[in-house]
Symmetry: C2
Subunit: 257 residues, 2 copies
């Protein structure tokens, strides 16, 4: 399949690398930052491009991996450049596909449910890919492509994808911030954050043997008021962290009431 990749950020970069790796033909890579487009394009035998008007109409699929609030403007411009009958998909968890229909005939989403960093190789064997499209034919095409990239593929509609995105914010963005809070407290007190890393790893390993609810431990679930009071007192110096401590403690207790 001939594919044009629009966007060479975290998602675009790793998707481009993987598409090339599984033998798909990425013909063009677009980024408004020419260097970024070239860097990826050179790695995967594609042409780089930094103007949407230079994108060719000869590909089978256009993957728009740009910031959520830029997606529709990009799709609109692609349509006005003669791509209105091409299959165009976005890679966003939090964006519906319906509005793309104002500009193009065939549209959908191709959402890898993972957090990517340019500096870290993606392990595609463990990345679920959620696909959707406005026709059965397009969905089938996307599903087939997804299956080449990952063993875990799902057909997920707009509503389901939006919900997965909320859940993903909790388990990824927010838990990462809790790790940051742990690191901040250690740093403030000149203790090595590395001392907490085995605990963090085990917290996740435990998900292999049971539901998180069954794995809950600590002062909140024990309703250990003495310890909770000590922790509140310590957290006076971190007002944001204290509020988070209180809300999470309350939620753990409500959840087990």
């Amino acid at each position: 399949m001939k594919i044009v990749l629009i966007g060479a950020g975290n998602v675009g970069y790793h998707l481009g690398m993987r598409l090339h790796e599984v033998g798909e033909h990425v013909v063009q890579v677009f980024s408004r930052t020419p260097n970024r487009a070239e860097k990826l394009a050179n790695k995967i035998g594609a042409k780089a491009c930094s103007k949407l008007s230079k994108i060719k109409a000869s590909a089978d699929l256009y993957i728009v991996a740009v910031k959520d609030d830029a997606i529709l403007a990009v799709v609109k411009e692609l349509a006005s450049n003669g791509l209105q009958n091409k299959l165009i998909v976005h890679t966003s968890g939090g964006t519906g596909i319906g509005e793309m229909g104002n500009y193009v005939a065939h549209f959908g989403s191709f959402y890898p449910l993972q957090t990517f960093s340019i500096t870290k190789k993606a392990n595609w064997a463990a990345i679920p890919i959620c696909v959707d499209a406005n026709s059965k034919k397009s969905r089938k095409k996307l599903k087939k492509l997804a299956q080449k990239i990952s063993p875990k593929t799902y057909e997920i509609d707009d509503e389901q994808r939006a919900i997965l995105h909320v859940a993903a914010v909790f388990v990824n963005n927010f838990s990462n911030h809790l790790f940051h809070i742990g690191a901040t407290i250690c740093e403030k007190e000149q203790l090595p954050f590395s001392i907490l890393k085995p605990l963090i790893e085990e917290t996740v390993n435990k998900l292999k043997i049971g539901e998180p609810k069954a794995m809950q431990t600590g002062p909140a679930i024990r309703n250990d008021q003495k310890t909770i009071a000590k922790h509140h007192e310590y957290l006076e110096k971190f007002p944001d962290f204290k509020k988070i401590y209180e809300e999470l403690t309350t939620s753990i207790q409500n959840n087990n009431a």
Copy 2:
């Protein structure tokens, strides 16, 4: 070293198993629940006991692995049973050692910084052990024992241990609750929680390549108000989760302001 283990819950159980594994001599296992004491004692060649008054004074070390608010009462009773000159330690992250000095001459802490479940084998190669005691001699003794159990041992005083315990609540108890929130949202919407597990694993894997602050992604740090508003709307059906969403979003944004 002859050791008596007081408590056969999550910590006591795994500590007992490990002490036996590395060739230490656990002579007695105490639990108020006779079955529990017996189960562990049988596995590690120790005598089971369900009365504190039956604990013998012939051991070199007494490890008190009971609930935080029961520690002092246990130490007091041990002292009144003739153990007032023995080395007695607790395994609690959130409890100081000083008050033990009201009852016994030699005291300290032996704190494995990990979350344990009876059903999951502990990986001691990755469990930091924090030791402290009221004398250099006792500290040395505990450190030597800790080094047999784990390659990662630290001398950590009461204040540092209390701080590590706060940090541990954030990175372990609270992140586990965020995983539970993810699972609850998936369940409510009939989506498989397993779809989020690779994302959770990657969130932790990323700590190997950089500090959590540098790894932060998502709508909060992008200040993507449109997505945040959508998520608030969805979370109307989970008021606790909505408050947590708001506090964590605010904290991520303050932290990067």
